[in-house]
């Protein structure tokens, strides 16, 4: 055997980093090299594969007992989406018109935009469990949600337009986060008080990050979201100001990275 192992494999108990990989010459042994390739493949596919929107829509409709329209951003496909974040932040004209017609004369506490973002696997793996945990909490808190919408090729700021068209005070966006090699399926939640389409800065957003099997549980994420919703409605703020207080109250909110 040409592999030279490392006598510190015991240190792996302290970190998920790829330590003690061993070597052959200056290079990675075959098994470690191919493990990395598999992790990268999973992350790449999470970005490029499409979630089963129809199945997710059906699931969301059953949980909310409301229709969940399937909409599009202005980014026509993944290639455009990845290079033109500005287009992913706006609803297509057809989608905006349809949503406007639906929302006429109604008012809600918040809108819920479900977006593919950068990880199909985040929605496929975590959306339905999260919604199942969330809806009872919303009901208990007496919060009034607009009909949820699902947006293809969606970025966080797309929810600003959804909230404006549905006459909601707050935008909540559930979206697939940028996949890491060890976390290709992370679901993020963004909350924004009184969003203004095209004008809302990132400092106005609160984020609950890393909802996934090996990260934050759907139950914990839901509780955090409902707390943020109540605080935001009462105090009419969101973002940095609200984050600071939540950290001191709850101790460990993780701020995620936008888009």
């Amino acid at each position: 055997m040409s592999i030279i192992g490392n006598p510190w494999t015991g240190l792996k108990q302290y970190t998920d980093a790829r330590i003690a990989l061993g070597r052959t010459g200056a290079s990675l042994p075959t098994a470690e090299h191919l493990d990395f390739q598999m992790s990268h493949a999973l992350a790449r596919d999470a970005v490029h594969q499409l979630p089963d929107y129809e199945a997710l829509k059906k699931g969301a409709e059953e949980i909310f007992q409301m229709p969940c329209p399937l909409l599009d951003s202005r980014a026509a496909d993944r290639t455009v989406y990845l290079q033109r974040p500005d287009l992913g932040r706006r609803l297509s004209r057809e989608s905006a018109a349809a949503l406007k017609a639906d929302g006429e004369g109604k008012e809600y506490d918040f809108s819920l935009t479900i977006g593919d973002g950068l990880s199909a696997r985040a929605l496929e793996g975590n959306l339905i469990p999260f919604l199942k945990a969330l809806v009872p909490e919303l009901t208990a808190a007496g919060l009034k949600s607009a009909p949820p919408v699902m947006v293809r090729q969606c970025r966080v700021a797309c929810g600003d337009e959804v909230a404006a068209l549905q006459s909601s005070k707050i935008s909540v966006v559930l979206i697939g986060e940028r996949p890491g090699l060890s976390s290709p399926d992370s679901l993020g939640v963004y909350l924004t008080w009184a969003p203004e389409p095209g004008e809302t800065g990132d400092d106005k957003r609160n984020c609950i990050s890393n909802i996934r099997g090996r990260g934050m549980t759907p139950e914990e994420g839901s509780r955090k979201l409902v707390w943020l919703l109540k605080e935001s409605l009462t105090r009419k703020i969101s973002g940095v100001a609200l984050k600071d207080e939540q950290q001191s109250l709850e101790g460990n909110t993780i701020m995620g990275e936008l888009d």
Binding site: Y14, Q83, G180
Partner: protein
């Protein structure tokens, strides 16, 4: 106004910024900003036009106004007007020829560097091929020192990057041990913290200090936190070796980072006062990257590569130990694929070297970019040939905190072996004296003793 005309083609560029942007090789960030050439012919026409431009134009015309931007002021006020006087009358095209000439040696380039502006460097890079960028860079050695000597010919150093998603000290220590035993960490052992909590960062600095002093390692430690946090920690007596900060090429971008030249100056002075270096006194560590200005709405209609070169103009006013262009981190809306990342990396390294900076590179990509390990293999090999001062070293190339991929401890072994490069001399001596490396610069087959020594001091 600048024009290009030939038998069938006429192009007009209204401003210097527009000419520079249109001459830039294609990248998604310039397209997103709406400043890129509309087609390849327009790009080639702009490059022709730029080649005929006198270098003096950049001394007369600001891309970003001197009055409203402190980066422009630092670039213009700190320029040495004597050392480049003989070359100032050249056009950009003649400048390229001069750079590539066999008479223009590394010594000549080093002497001229303080007279060259970032805009001149950016302009000439736009009309250079990848091989031109590599060849000229390879002539230049910009050497700096703190506890060891970095950037010498025939040397390649690494930043050991032991990040952990929850800043767990044992987790970080495990990656540091792994890295040291693979011979990584002569540029710096540098942690990106997940939080900006003062106590956590102070604990990290103390741990790095214990590792470095306890094992008499000729290297420096750094926690890559905001410059104001580092300043606080210096004032509280924390063992700060280097002052880190991300910087950019416009005052507005730096303001979005919460920094200015005066804050940087204050922190540099504070670190110099505690003066923990032994070989030299370069102690600033800057990171940069194309696209940051546009993402902060601070680009002023200037293309992203020119703005990046301007960040180097700011950096050189602070005699840094390390300047690291984090080339592929920002994502595909700025650098779409491996080809664009490679080109940007070569440009950044060239411009920084030409301006006199100790350039290193975070050769990296995110999972939503059209890039993979093979692209990184190509770029790191090019960087080795171009004479890059340092690259990153991270376990298996996978940063589990920042969620991106960069070069690994193994990659540095590969590059050194392929090109006959060695670590910084003091660090190499330490590695071989400790028996961590064999004389042929690979990790020793049995490192139990060395492992025990490093681990013992950490209580793991």
């Amino acid at each position: 106004m600048y024009t290009y005309s030939s038998a069938y083609i006429n192009y007009r560029f209204e401003t210097l910024a527009q000419l520079m942007a249109c001459a830039s090789p294609l990248r998604s960030g310039d397209v997103l900003a709406g400043v890129a050439a509309s087609c390849e012919t327009e790009r080639a026409a702009a490059q022709h036009c730029l080649a005929d431009l006198p270098l003096k134009t950049f001394l007369k015309e600001d891309l970003i106004s001197y009055d409203s931007d402190e980066v422009t002021r630092i670039i213009m006020d700190s320029r040495d007007r004597e050392v480049f006087r003989d070359q100032e009358s050249m056009t950009v095209g003649e400048f390229r020829n001069w750079l590539l000439s066999e008479q223009t040696t590394g010594e000549v380039l080093k002497k001229a560097a303080p007279g060259i502006t970032p805009e001149m460097a950016a302009a000439v890079s736009k009309i250079m091929k990848n091989q031109d960028l590599i060849l000229v860079s390879s002539k230049i050695r910009n050497v700096t020192a703190f506890r060891n000597t970095l950037g010498l010919g025939g040397r390649l150093s690494t930043r050991l990057q032991p990040n952990h998603p929850t800043d767990d000290l044992k987790g970080i220590a495990a990656s540091v041990i792994d890295g040291l035993l693979y011979g990584s960490g002569d540029a710096v052992i540098g942690i990106n913290p997940a939080t900006d909590n003062l106590n956590t960062i102070s604990d990290m600095l103390k741990m790095l200090d214990e590792i470095i002093r306890g094992n008499a390692i000729p290297t420096q430690g750094c926690v890559l936190t905001h410059v104001t946090t580092t300043l606080d920690l210096i004032n509280k007596g924390a063992p700060v070796d280097l002052v880190f900060q991300s910087i950019g090429g416009t005052e507005k971008l730096n303001a979005s980072f919460g920094v200015s030249a005066s804050i940087l100056k204050e922190a540099k002075q504070a670190a110099e006062e505690i003066g923990r270096g032994s070989c030299g006194n370069n102690l600033m560590y800057f990171e940069t990257g194309q696209g940051a200005a546009l993402s902060a709405d601070a680009a002023h209609g200037v293309d992203q590569q020119t703005l990046e070169a301007r960040a180097y103009g700011l950096a050189r006013a602070f005699d840094p130990l390390l300047v690291n262009t984090v080339v592929g981190f920002i994502g595909p809306e700025y650098l779409y694929d491996g080809k664009q990342i490679t080109r940007a990396g070569l440009e950044d390294h060239f411009c920084g070297k030409l301006l006199g900076l100790p350039m290193g590179m975070d050769i990296c990509y995110t999972n939503h970019a059209e890039a993979d390990q093979n692209d990184m293999d190509v770029l790191m090999t090019l960087m080795g040939t171009a004479g890059c001062n340092f690259i990153m070293g991270i376990p298996g190339g996978d940063d589990i905190m920042l969620n991106y991929q960069t070069t690994s401890y193994h990659d540095a072994l590969y590059l050194r072996r392929l090109l006959g490069l060695r670590p910084a001399p003091e660090f190499e001596e330490w590695l071989t004296a400790k028996g961590i490396f064999t004389p042929d610069l690979l990790p020793a087959e049995n490192q139990r003793l060395q492992l025990g020594e490093i681990k013992g001091g950490l209580g793991l």
